[in-house]
Subunit: 276 residues, 2 copies
């Protein structure tokens, strides 16, 4: 089972394009867990169990664990997702990028150590830096294309001259290379932020309907859901992994935090589906 | 004491531009340590203690620890360097890159958890993604510019049109932005691979003599030392952090591995200094 086929199966089974991001913030744990020494794990496990019915994927963000020295919690969290919610792919959000000999170690970190189904990676070092991930045909490789932050424009929008004289922004060259040169195993996806729905449409036009697009930025970052769906859906009215983290994780802060997260996830799934 | 002033002091005290990269490879440990359960730490500590007299900096590469679940070894290794070899800066080679709210956690990982003096970062997400590191005026931020791998050309050499109609490769635009927009605290450095000495000269011309250039690729990757120095040195015949990992770490594989590493480091330092 490849990542892309697992994702397609999960999109169909769940009727959801919502990806729940798992970014535990020190100081923002709900009150019942504030003094739990294992709160990174306990919090994320509760969120996972409450939101699983509404999720097409889970996306733990590794820095939120690493800053606290909580890699062990992340290992147990991903193992819990696989055991308790089989069929829901786990995307490790790590945005790694290094030369090939080092990238092999990052691939081992994501796939062997943490048992992620997919990992996010940075394309700045080029195709050979992505090969150690892409060679893993059974795993997904989610390449940054047009990110959701304001500073994305600094490099990603720079006008790049093509050999045919055309000028296109850098993120579109990344999308072209991704679709044409890097996707030999059909296991590539791209990150395009919800804050740039027109760019999402440009990328969809370049890569076609089969490349999943991971779309962060609809919650706290303010992306426009209607425009995301209009520009990002493929012909099957699917193909998107729409990620929300903070708006779900921090929907409640008291004893009912998990129920509040479930409600926020269900409402987001439904808000997406009403516009599909 | 800022990273750049600590680096200048160490360049002067050691008479060396050599940075020793610490990239422990499973399966390549010297025979006396093959069965040591704490071999990532024991190996790197022995390398550090043997090569310190010839090093202007140490550069542990985090994936080589993370793939083995050895973050604890990396913590102890950096603590050992600070305690046993004060004054030698530690550059954590992590090449992180994410939106600001997540970058704060990566900065905490590098500076609070691991106590690194500097960290390598990826510029693809733009200036706001680098701000959480750059705001730490006491720490160094080493931004990828032109990397040492063949695939670097895929994105970094793409011709970018400027507002004045000029066309320059992307890596030069990164160097321009770094020097002009991102270096308000004077704590920025750039990575330029030794495999591209002419590009190193272009970058030096853009950023001036005060921005340190971290130069990987002289050992196993085959960069030309003579050309690196010709193009990369500043007016003080300094300004370079020339990194070698595998050629030093694996200079010997038996009981004398640390002495062999020291010899390789001394010879590399001397080879650099003969050409300065």
């Amino acid at each position: 089972m490849t990542f892309n086929s697992a994702l397609k199966r999960r999109w169909a089974a769940s009727g959801s394009l919502l990806c729940v991001g798992l970014d535990p913030e020190p100081g923002r744990y709900p009150s019942p867990l504030a003094d739990d020494p294992d709160r990174a794990f306990a919090f994320c496990r509760a969120i996972v169990d409450a939101t699983a019915p509404y999720a097409c994927a889970f996306k733990p963000q590794i820095a939120h664990f690493a800053a606290q020295g909580a890699e062990g919690a992340l290992e147990r969290l991903i193992a819990h997702i696989h055991a308790a919610h089989p069929g829901i792919p786990v995307i490790l959000d790590a945005k790694r990028g290094d030369i090939g000999s080092t990238a092999r170690h990052y691939a081992a970190e994501a796939f062997e150590r943490f048992h992620a189904d997919a990992v996010t990676v940075n394309p700045y070092l080029g195709g050979d830096s992505l090969a150690p991930y892409l060679e893993r045909a059974d795993r997904g490789v989610v390449v940054l294309c047009r990110t959701s932050n304001p500073g994305a424009a600094d490099l990603q929008d720079l006008p790049v001259a093509g050999s045919d004289g055309s000028i296109r922004p850098l993120y579109q060259r990344v999308a072209e290379k991704a679709a044409r040169d890097w996707n030999g195993h059909g296991n590539l996806a791209l990150v395009v932020g919800a804050t740039w729905p027109e760019q999402l449409g440009e990328v969809r036009a370049i890569v076609g309907g089969d490349v999943p697009l991971l779309v962060p930025g609809i919650g706290a970052q303010g992306g426009d859901l209607e425009a995301v769906l209009k520009h990002g859906l493929n012909a099957e009215r699917s193909g998107l992994i729409i990620s929300s983290s903070r708006a779900i994780l921090h929907a409640g802060s008291g004893n009912d935090f998990a129920e509040a997260a479930a409600r926020a996830a269900r409402e987001t799934r439904d808000a997406i589906n009403r516009r599909r």
